[in-house]
Amino acid sequence: MRETLVVFRRELQSYFLSPIAYVFGVLFLALQLLVAGLITLRQGGQASLQAFFGWLPFVLLLFLPGLTMRLWAEERKLGTLELLMTFPVRIQQLVFGKFLAAVTYLAVVLLFTLGLPLTLAAYGRLDWAPVPWGYLAALLMAGSYIAVGMFWSSMTRDQIVALLLALVSLLVLYALGYPGIIEWLGPQLSELTPFWARVAVVTMELLNGISPYKYFDSIARGVLDTRDLVYYACFCGFFLYANALVLHGRRHKG
C-alpha cells in the first residue's frame, strides 16, 4: 500500500507540475461547461444536472485518451520504464498508483465544475441528493476510460498510436451502449442469414452489456445499484490486470 501511495504521489505531482495538464483541464472544463451551461442555464429550464452528466461521458471520451496516452508510452520512449521496473515496487502497485493518480487528477478538475450545481441551486430547487452520486458515476466512468487508455498505452511505445487505439476502442464501447446505435444496426443485421443475424444480435447484446455507458445512467440520475458498482469494479479491474500482465511480459522480455 505504501508503495502504491509513493507511486500515486509521484504521478499526481507530475500532473500538477506539467502545463499540459492545465491546458487539458481548461479545455475540458470549457467544453463541458459550455455544453451543459447552454442547455441548462435558461429561464424556465430545469435545475438539474441531467445535461451536465448526459454529455460528460462523451466529453471524457474525447479528452481522457489524451491524458492516458503518455502514462506508459512516454515511460517507454524515455526509457524510464526499465528504471521503474527496478524499483522495489510490484507491477500491480505501479499500475494502481498511476491509475489512482489519473482518477484523482480528474476528480480535482471535476471539482471546478461545482459552480454549476451551486448556480442551479441559487436559481432553482436543485435536488442535491443525486449530485454526489452523479459525480461518483462520473469518476467511475472516467476510471473505466482511464483503465482502457492505460492498457493501450502499455501496449505501444508511440503516444499517438496509444491515443488513437484508446479513442477508437472507447468510441466503440460508447457506441455499443448507446441505444440509437443498436437500433441502427438492427435492420442492417437482419439482412444477414438468420443464423449469422442471431449470432450478431447475441454478440451485440453481450457487447452492449460490456459498455460502461450503459451503467452510467442510473447512478447519474441518483439510483445506486450494486450491479453498476460491481460492473465498474470488474471493468476497471480487468483492464488494470491486463495492463499489469502486459508489463509483466515486458519485464520478462527484459
Binding site: 507540475l17 481548461v26 429550464g45 430547487r125 438492427g186 441518483g222 458498482l229
Partner: protein
C-alpha cells in the same frame, strides 16, 4: 555412447517464448473475463438498489405497495411484448421502464403477481390472440440505406385477477417510472376492485348568443367525464331528467355543472339529496363565454333560475351556508396569472430569432390560486406613497394563503406552489354576517372552510357582454388595445381596497332543508296529472250543468287549463289518443316523503369555475393560437373525483408530481406596470453573465491554481539552488 548436441536457435527460442507468453496472457485474460462476467451476472441477478432522489422518482409509491398487499387472489399479467432488440429507441426506453416496473411488481407481490411474457412476432397464434383481446400493434416506419419498411411492434398488457375480471391495456409506452405507475396501478386497482364508483350529474345545454348565432359548441364537459382514465374508475349518470325524480340511494355524489334555468323541482331534488347525506359538487359560473376568432370572448346569456321559479338558487345555497356572488373575478397579481405554460392562460404568437413563440398576455380573468402566504404582504399592500396605513395593514394581516387547505387533494398543487387554473371564475364563499366580512355565519351544526383564495389584488365585476383585450387590429393596434385594457383595470385596482376572493369552499354537516315548511315542488308528471284531473272535473261539471249546445263553447266558461289538452275554442275538444288516455288513467307513482331535516351529514363543495373542465379548453382547441388551454384542469378534476371517493391511493399516485425545479433566473416582476421589454433585457443579461461566470470562472481558477503551483515550484527550486550554492 553417441550423443548429439542440438543447437538451439536463440531467435526461434525468443519467438517461441513470445508466443508462449502471448498465449499465457490470452488464457489469463479469457479466464478473467469469464470470472468477472459471472460476477457481473450474479450482481445483476441479486441486485440491491437505492433510489437517492429526494422525490423518490425511481421507486414505486406506497400506494402501489398497499394495493399489492391487499390482493387476495392471483394477479396474472400477460405481457405481449415483441423482442427488445427489435424495438426503436423510443419504445426501447419505455420497455426498460416497463420491465423494471413489472419486475418490481413481481417482487412486491410476494407470489400473488405473476408475469407471463409472450412474443406475438414469434408465434402467429399469440398475435391472433392479441387481436382477439384488443392488444393493438404499433406500426413504425424504419429505414435502412436501401429500403424503407414499416415494422410492427407489440407492447400491450392483459391483467387477469383471480381468473375472472380482466383489463387490457392495448398499447403501453411510459417514458418514465412515474408514468408507468400512473397507468398500471389504477388498472390493477380496477381489476382488483369489485365495482366502479357511481357519480350523478346534472348539466344544462348551452344556448345561442344573441344575434341569431348558433349555440356554441365545446362549452360542455363531456370530454373529461368520458375520458378513458376517468371512465375506467368511475361511472357517471345524468340525473337532470324531465321527470324530476329524486336521486336513487346508490348515488352519493351529484355534480352540478354550471347550473342555470334551475326549476324549483330541480332545487328540491338537490335539497332532498343533501338531506339524505349526499355530496353536491357545484361548478359555478357567473357567465358563459364563447371564444371567438383572435380571442374575442362573447357572453352567452343565461339566468340562474327558471322563469317560473318561485325560489332562488342563491337563497337556497345561502340557506346551506354558501354565499355565491355571481360576478366574475379578475386577479391582477402577476404571480396569479403568469404560468410556466403560457398556453394555459392566454398568449399571442410572436416571431423571435429563435422561431415562433407564444408571448403571454396580461389577462387577469384567467388565474390560479398562488401557494404563498399573502398575509406577509400586508405591510407592502397597505403602503401608499411611502406611507403605511396601520389599520389597513392590520386588516391585510388576516389574508389567507392561496391554497388554504391541508386536504390531500391539494398535495400536488402545494408542491408546485399554485392551484389549478380558473377561467372567468366567480366568487363562492361561506355565508358571512352582514357587515362583518370576517365573521362566518354558518347554520347550526355545519362546518365549512374556504380552500382556495385569490391574491389580494382581485377585482369583481358584473360579467361584461364582451371581453376583447387584444382587439382585432394589427400588432400595433393590439398593443394599444391591451395597454388600454390593462390601464383601465389598474386604475380600478388602485381606487379599491385590497381583498381576497374565495374560489372554492366546502361545507358539511346535517343541513337544514331549504324546503322545510314549504310546499313540495311537484314533478312535471304530477302537475300534468293534476291539470288533467282539473280538466276532467271541469268537463264533468260542464256536462252536469247541462250545456244547451255541446258543439259550441260557452262564452262564460274560461278556456281549459291544460295546455296539453288540445282544445279547440271553436270546435269540440279533440278526442284523446289511446296513450294519452292511458297516461291520464295511470296515477303517478308516489315519491318518498319530503325530508324536512337531514338524516345523515351531507357535503357541498362549491368551485367558482366551470370552465376549467369545459371541453374546448381541455381538448386544447386554442393551443396553436396561444390558448386558453386548461392544462391542469383534467388532472385537478381527476384528483377531485379520487378525493371525493376518498381514494387517497389514487390521488397520491396522480399527485406524485416531481418538485417544481424550474429555474427562475430573473424573478417575474410583480409590478403590473412594468414594461415587458425591460424584463426581457434583464433576463438576457443575467443569462449571459451566468453562462460566462460558469464557463470562464472555473477555467480561470484552474489557471490560477496552476500559476500558484508554478510559483511554489520555482520557490522550491530557488531554495534548492541557494542551498547548493551555500554548500
Amino acid at each position: 555412447m553417441h550423443t548429439t548436441t542440438r543447437r538451439v536457435d536463440p531467435a526461434a527460442s525468443q519467438a517461441s517464448g513470445q508466443r508462449g507468453s502471448a498465449l499465457q496472457l490470452t488464457i489469463h485474460l479469457v479466464l478473467l473475463v469469464l470470472v468477472l462476467g459471472q460476477l457481473v451476472y450474479l450482481a445483476s441477478r441479486l441486485r440491491l438498489r437505492a433510489d437517492l432522489t429526494s422525490d423518490r422518482l425511481w421507486s414505486l409509491t406506497q400506494s402501489t405497495r398497499d394495493i399489492l398487499a391487499r390482493l387476495d387472489q392471483r394477479l396474472l399479467i400477460e405481457a405481449y411484448f415483441s423482442p427488445k432488440d427489435k424495438l426503436p429507441t423510443q419504445l426501447r426506453e419505455s420497455r426498460v421502464v416497463l420491465d423494471n416496473f413489472l419486475d418490481e411488481l413481481v417482487q412486491l407481490g410476494k407470489g400473488k403477481v405473476v408475469v407471463q411474457r409472450f412474443d406475438p412476432l414469434a408465434d402467429k397464434a399469440v398475435a391472433d390472440k392479441c387481436t382477439r383481446l384488443g392488444v393493438k400493434p404499433i406500426d413504425m416506419q424504419t429505414g435502412t440505406s436501401s429500403s424503407i419498411s414499416v415494422d410492427r411492434h407489440w407492447q400491450g398488457l392483459r391483467l387477469v385477477y383471480g381468473g375472472g375480471k380482466q383489463k387490457v391495456l392495448d398499447q403501453v409506452g411510459p417514458q418514465n417510472s412515474f408514468l408507468a405507475e400512473a397507468i398500471l396501478t389504477p388498472a390493477i386497482k380496477e381489476v382488483a376492485t369489485a365495482q366502479k364508483r357511481k357519480f350523478g350529474f346534472m348539466e344544462w345545454p348551452v344556448q345561442a348568443a344573441p344575434g341569431g348565432q348558433q349555440a356554441p359548441s365545446g362549452i360542455g364537459w363531456n370530454l373529461l367525464r368520458t375520458h378513458d382514465a376517468i371512465a375506467k374508475r368511475y361511472e357517471f349518470q345524468n340525473f337532470k331528467d324531465e321527470e324530476g325524480a329524486l336521486l336513487p340511494d346508490d348515488v352519493d355524489t351529484l355534480f352540478l355543472f354550471r347550473p342555470k334555468e334551475l326549476t324549483d323541482r330541480q332545487k328540491y331534488v338537490v335539497d332532498q339529496f343533501l338531506m339524505g347525506g349526499g355530496t353536491v359538487v357545484l361548478f359555478a359560473d357567473a357567465a358563459e363565454y364563447q371564444i371567438g376568432p383572435r380571442r374575442s370572448f362573447t357572453k352567452v346569456p343565461f339566468q340562474l333560475d327558471a322563469k317560473d321559479s318561485q325560489y332562488k338558487f342563491l337563497d337556497q345555497l345561502q340557506h346551506y351556508g354558501i354565499e355565491w356572488k355571481p360576478r366574475i373575478l379578475a386577479d391582477l397579481r402577476m404571480e396569479a396569472m403568469r404560468s410556466n405554460q403560457p398556453q394555459e392562460y392566454f398568449g399571442v404568437p410572436q416571431r423571435t430569432p429563435w422561431g415562433q413563440t407564444v408571448g403571454q398576455v396580461f389577462y387577469p380573468y384567467f388565474f390560479h390560486a398562488v401557494g404563498g402566504d399573502w398575509s406577509k404582504l400586508a405591510d407592502e399592500l397597505a403602503t401608499r406613497n411611502g406611507h403605511r396605513d396601520e389599520d389597513l395593514a392590520e386588516r391585510y394581516r388576516r389574508f389567507r394563503p392561496g391554497i388554504d387547505s391541508e386536504e390531500f387533494l391539494f398535495q400536488a398543487f402545494k408542491k408546485i406552489g399554485r392551484g389549478p387554473g380558473f377561467y372567468w371564475p366567480t366568487w363562492v364563499d361561506l355565508r358571512r354576517k352582514p357587515g362583518a366580512p370576517d365573521a362566518v355565519d354558518l347554520p347550526v351544526g355545519i362546518t365549512g372552510k374556504v380552500m382556495l383564495w385569490s391574491s389580494p389584488e382581485v377585482l369583481t365585476e358584473e360579467p361584461p357582454q364582451s371581453l376583447d383585450p387584444i382587439g382585432q387590429g394589427d400588432g400595433m393596434a393590439q398593443t394599444q388595445q391591451l395597454t388600454q385594457f390593462r390601464n383601465k383595470l389598474l386604475e380600478r385596482l388602485s381606487s379599491e381596497p385590497r381583498q381576497q376572493a374565495p374560489l372554492m369552499v366546502e361545507v358539511q354537516g346535517e343541513f337544514p332543508s331549504f324546503f322545510a315548511g314549504k310546499e313540495r315542488p311537484k314533478r312535471p308528471a304530477e302537475i300534468k296529472e293534476e291539470e288533467a284531473k282539473k280538466a276532467a272535473a271541469a268537463a264533468k261539471a260542464a256536462a252536469d250543468d247541462g250545456k244547451p249546445d255541446e258543439g259550441k263553447p260557452d262564452p262564460n266558461q274560461p278556456p281549459a287549463a291544460d295546455p296539453l289538452a288540445k282544445t279547440d275554442p271553436v270546435g269540440p275538444p279533440a278526442p284523446k289518443t289511446e296513450d294519452e288516455a292511458d297516461a291520464a288513467a295511470q296515477p303517478v307513482a308516489p315519491e318518498a316523503p319530503q325530508r324536512e331535516r337531514a338524516v345523515k351529514p351531507g357535503r357541498i363543495l362549491a368551485i367558482g369555475d366551470a370552465d376549467f373542465v369545459r371541453d374546448d379548453l381541455v381538448r386544447q382547441d386554442y393551443a396553436q393560437s396561444g390558448g386558453p388551454v386548461s392544462v391542469n384542469g383534467g388532472g385537478f378534476f381527476s384528483m377531485l373525483l379520487d378525493w371525493l371517493a376518498q381514494d387517497r391511493e389514487l390521488v397520491e399516485l396522480q399527485s406524485r408530481v416531481p418538485t417544481d425545479r424550474t429555474l427562475t433566473l430573473v424573478q417575474p416582476s410583480t409590478a403590473t406596470r412594468q414594461d415587458p421589454r425591460v424584463e426581457e433585457q434583464k433576463l438576457r443579461t443575467t443569462t449571459q453573465l451566468l453562462l460566462a461566470a460558469n464557463i470562464v470562472l472555473p477555467c480561470l481558477l484552474l489557471i490560477a491554481f496552476g500559476f500558484l503551483v508554478f510559483l511554489w515550484r520555482n520557490a522550491q527550486k530557488r531554495a534548492f539552488l541557494h542551498s547548493v550554492q551555500a554548500d
